[in-house]
Amino acid sequence: MSSNLHLELVTLRGKKVDQDIYEVTIPTETGPISVYPDHEALVTLAIPGALAIRHNRDDPDSKLEYLAITGGVVRVSNGRVRILVDEADHSEDILEEDSKAALKRAMELRENAKDQVELEKAMELVDRHAVRLKVAELRRKRRVN
């Protein structure tokens, strides 16, 4: 039995995470899944949302590391988790105020979209910023605790 899990979070701008961890929670179409060491081989789809990493077995929830990810594909095998997404941002790198403003702008764009293409683009933006804002909030809550 392997005692740890190797996580690779690969984006088009390089590897965001490449290290041994204890647990990772991934948002998927059928709900969030938590992957621990010795998880069975699995291929599934990640959806835009918050990814949570627990580095050590004894870490409390307040020490979880959060990342905002866009959709992508997840592959689990032999104690390795590999997640391919377009974009991923550490919660530390996201400013809550900025995300709020960006989300508001994206929503305005959605309201004012003239055609289907613009609407699609605006919806994508809304999703993206909603996720980022959620991740930023998670981090703030963690600090309060």
């Binding site: 690779e8 690969v10 984006t11 088009l12 701008r13 390089g14 590897k15 998927t28 179409e29 059928t30 069975e40 081989a41 699995l42 291929v43 599934t44 789809l45 959709g71 992508g72 594909v73 592959r75 689990v76 095998s77 032999n78 390795r80 590999r82 391919l84 377009d86």
Partner: protein
């Protein structure tokens, strides 16, 4: 021997040329660094994507997916990646040489090969050839690819592929190895997972959630797009490297030429002075007599 004044003006003009080539060298160098960084950053994603595609293929779940279907190739789509501007050494010519070679192989079947051109030079070249049929042109593609061109080109390729108009899609591009080494390569991106990559990990039967078809539908397109993206990044990095080298050589040659001309000018000037002195002393001698 040329006069001092002629030599002087040549030195000035070569010096001006050198200034331009030097500036282009510096610009290309900084663009090259940025392009290299982008290329390296995306490499791990593409590698993982290729491995995943091979993994899917090895699992035997891909037979039913249209993008994985391997067919007998009668007609294929060629994507030619060259530059918008020249002065990049052999960059464009190397690509064109390979392209003509590929066309020759296809032409035996008596068909025109549909081609998509990236870069103005590529478009100009493709239109001149009888064996090719221009299917699309993308000019002035920015170094920071935003995906618009990629999606357009891929959408067209996939549509033709699924309609059985073509049986394969190949890209001719310059693979970036290092700042001084680049190599023209032909890469097949459709059918997906065609170029087999070694799958590093176990080949356990994996569980697919929600089901294999949904997973494939959602990701295969993205993964193929990533491969296309990588080839364009490679091409950009190669272009800037080759332009930098070409301009560096041009600047070095200009330096050498200026040195040679300066030497020739000094000789000419000294010759003129010697001549004048000889004439003066000759004159003095004549007056003394």
């Amino acid at each position: 021997m040329a006069s001092t004044r002629q030599l002087k003006s040549r030195i000035r003009s070569v010096g001006n040329t050198r200034q331009i080539t030097k500036a282009m060298e510096v610009v290309a160098a900084s663009k090259m660094r940025r392009a290299q960084d982008a290329d390296k950053a995306a490499a791990s994603y593409t590698e993982a994507a290729s491995e995943l595609l091979s993994y899917f293929a090895s699992q035997g779940i891909t037979q039913k997916h249209s993008l994985f279907k391997v067919k007998h190739v009668h007609r294929r789509l060629l994507i030619v990646v060259a530059s918008d501007r020249g002065l990049a050494g052999a960059y464009n010519n190397n690509i064109f040489k390979q392209y003509v070679q590929e066309l020759k192989n296809d032409h035996a079947a008596g068909d025109k090969t549909p081609s998509v051109a990236f870069g103005r030079k590529a478009a100009q070249f493709v239109t001149r050839l009888r064996e090719a049929e221009l299917a699309g042109v993308y000019e002035n593609v920015s170094d920071q690819l935003d995906g618009g061109e990629l999606q357009a080109v891929l959408a067209m390729a996939v549509e033709k592929f699924e309609a059985d108009e073509i049986e394969a899609v190949d890209i001719i591009y310059t693979k970036f190895i290092s700042s001084i080494a680049q190599q023209v390569e032909v890469k097949r991106i459709l059918p997906a997972g065609f170029t087999e990559v070694e799958v590093a990990e176990d080949l356990n039967e994996a569980v697919y959630e929600p089901n294999p078809k949904k997973v494939l539908d959602a990701v295969v397109y993205r993964l193929v797009e990533a491969q296309l993206y990588q080839t364009l990044l490679d091409a950009k990095a190669s272009e800037h490297s080759m332009r930098m080298m070409a301009m560096k050589n041009a600047s070095d040659n200009a330096d050498e030429l200026v040195d040679d001309l300066t030497l020739a000018m000094n000789k000419a000037r000294q010759g003129a002075i010697t001549q004048e002195l000889a004439e003066i002393s000759g004159g003095v001698e004549a007056m003394n007599d």
